[in-house]
Structure formats: C-alpha cells, structure tokens
Subunit: 196 residues, 2 copies
DNA sequence: CCCGTCTCTAAACCCAGGTTCATTACGGCG
DNA sequence: CGCCGTAATGAACCTGGGTTTAGAGACGGG
C-alpha cells in the first residue's frame, strides 16, 4: 500500500502530451508564484487544469469550523485541478497553496477535454493519468479507513522520506489526519521505541 | 458532501450499454448467490467487472491483523470490480460479499475494454461512470479525513436513511471507520441528545 | 419447543489523540 | 544586535474510541 505521494510518470507524460496543443492554441503561459501564495481558493470554484512544472503544492480542504486538512501534495511535476463552481458552492471544494516557489501553467478544462477528443495520443495520456489518480485515491481511502495515524506516518516515512524532508510538519500532520501536536508525539514515541 | 452511498444513474446506464454487447458475445450469464456468499475474495486477484442486477453487496478490505473494513456498499444496481492479481499480492485488494441474495453478471475486464474501444455509446457510459466513481471517492476521502465518526454517521443518517435500514450495524460501523461497540455508543449518544 | 449462534447493547477500563497553555527554536527585519 | 512572528515541542488534562466481558434479543435448525 502507498499513501499517494509518489509521482509516477503519468503526470509528466500528460504534461508533455498537452504542451504542443497548448502552445499551438497560444494557451501555454508559464506563471510563477512565491511560497505561501494560493494558486486557487476553494471558494473560487475554479476547474482549470493546473500543470505544475516545478515547486511544491498542497491541496487543502477547509472545514466549516475553519480547520485545514491536506488532501494531497504535488511535488515538482504534477497535474491537478479544482472541482468547479457547483462543488465549491456545496462546500466540497479544496484550495491549492504553494509550499515552495512554483512554476505552472493553467489551462481551461474545456480546452483539455476538446484536445483529448481530437488527439489519440493525448487521450491515452489522460486515461493513464486518470487510472493512476484512481489507484492513488483507492490507496489513500484504504489508509484512512484501515490504519492508525501512527501506521500511516510509518508508511510515509519509509515510502516517501525525500518528500517528507521538504514538507512543513504541520502540513504533514494535517495530511495524516491528526493535529500537529499529536504528530509531534507520534514522532517522539517512534524515536523512543527505536532507541529503547 | 455525501458519503458515497447514493446510486446515481451512471451504473444502470453502464449496465444497459454493456448488456447488448455481452449478449452478442454470449457472455451475459446471470448468476445468483445467497446472503453471506463471497462474489470474490481479496486474495483471488480477480479483476472481472461485476454487474450487480439486484441485491446488496459490501466491498471489504481485510488488514493483516484480520480486521475487516468496509470500503463501500453496492445497492440493487451497480458496477464494481476487484483490483487484479498484482494488487492482491501487494495486499491492496478487497473482497466482495453478498449481504442479501444477489443476481449479477461477471465480465472479463478485457472484454469491457475492447467493447468500449469499439462503441462510442459504451465509451461515453464508461466515462460517465468513471467520473461518478471519482467524485464519490473524493467525497469519501474528504469525509474520512475531515470528519469525526459521529459526524460521518449523522451525514449517513440524513443522506441514506433507506440504505441504512438494510445494512447490518456491524458493517455500518466498519464503513464509518469504528468498531461496532463504538457505533452503538454513538447512536445512543445521538438519541439522548435528541431527547435531552 | 429448546438450544445454539449471531447481532446488538451495556459497562468497565485503557489509551491515543484533542485541547490548551507554556516554552523553545528558527528566520526575517528593523 | 535585539525584536517579533511562526513553527515545533513539551506538559497537563479531557474525551472519544478500542478492548474485553457479559448479557439481552432475534433467528434458524433440530
């Protein structure tokens, strides 16, 4: 099982397949944002497709009570999007925030869909990416349902140590489903166990 | 937000689109199984596509410690499948068990994929179904990550009361992510709150 | 009709995580 | 250099869920 942090190569392949189409349509506009800046907010209702070329992004749910919970991280290269106006209005949306300076391209979802319909190669890349996303979601669902926060952290540490080093601990905690305080305790407990 | 129990009409539409193809290929063989019987086990590594025509099925993860956790329920009409041999070997698979007498058809995944490639109508039904599955998974992920078990139960009660009445409480508990004992406490607490 | 079996509820105790407040460590920045 | 805001840790207390055991109904088979 994994926790959905490995990049795989489905996203880079999709970016590569989209790029010529977007350039041809003069939609390939690279933007940059500094650390801490939002790419979109949950309330925006954006459903643009974002191609992350470099940097580090977190996708966050915000509850009615105002807590943030991290849906996922996107490292270096990846593709993600919001959930559109309808979902945003229903409170099911999530925001995207840069955790490092980011370079990315935004494409309208309709453009991506039209392009995929007209391009077998691109459609295959989309399908591969969708399959990869689904597999990751399954794994995350299983982890949240069947494992304790501590077990999820152990798995994250063994499977994504490099990513962990780049992430603020508060965000890691919110990704694992606990508070930063509890996460600090978990780390201490595991360290003590290793030595004792 | 919802918890992924509403049927929608994507699954019935997919069944309807697949049926003529399967009949033509003489693969439409309706089977029945009694309450309690497994349709497939996690260890089977089956990736057949199952079309549930009537009945009630639960999909269950089984941890190394032997606990069962309910991934989802399929009521009356639905489409689901296992995750194949590779995932089964990696311990990421899940089993399917009848909670009521079930009538269903099994189709090889490869047949469904080939048929979809050759049939625009079927491909559209597959795409709609995949989009619906993804939306449900997002909602379930959000619920598991951001809500307490009690809050998940309240949502389930308001959003899927009819389904709840058909489900054994132990399975509901495992679906919500708690033990049956804790689930019993939650119900009592909510009843007391309503009266007090 | 009785007897297992299964499901659900109840009660007692334990523990991991939540909450709150205080303290320390780390970076900008004047 | 000292100041301040943020992030992380530490400690004390609370609470909700896990675990175990027991008992009450429901159901099916003999």
């Amino acid at each position: 099982m994994n926790l959905g942090l490995e990049t795989g190569d489905a996203a880079p392949a999709l970016i590569a397949a989209l790029r010529p189409r977007a350039e041809e349509a003069r939609l390939w506009a690279e933007r940059t944002l500094p650390k801490g800046a939002p790419i979109f907010a949950a309330a925006d209702g954006s459903d643009d497709v974002v191609l992350l070329l470099s940097g580090l992004v977190k996708l966050v749910y915000t509850t009615e009570a105002g807590e943030d919970w991290v849906k996922s991280f996107i490292l270096d290269q990846g593709v993600f999007s919001g959930r559109g106006a309808a979902d945003a209005a229903a409170g099911e949306g999530y925001g995207a925030v840069c955790l490092e300076p980011c370079r990315f391209v935004r494409l309208p979802r309709s453009f991506v869909e039209r392009s995929a319909a007209a391009d077998d190669n691109l459609r295959a890349a989309c399908a591969a990416f969708a399959a990869w996303v689904l597999a990751r979601k399954q794994a995350r669902e299983a982890a949240l349902l069947t494992m304790s926060p501590e077990a999820r952290y152990r798995m994250l540490r063994t499977g994504a140590a490099a990513a962990l080093a780049r992430l603020p601990q508060g965000d890691v905690a919110r990704f694992l489903g606990v508070t930063p305080v509890a996460f600090s305790r978990i780390k201490r407990r595991l360290q003590a166990d290793r030595q004792g």
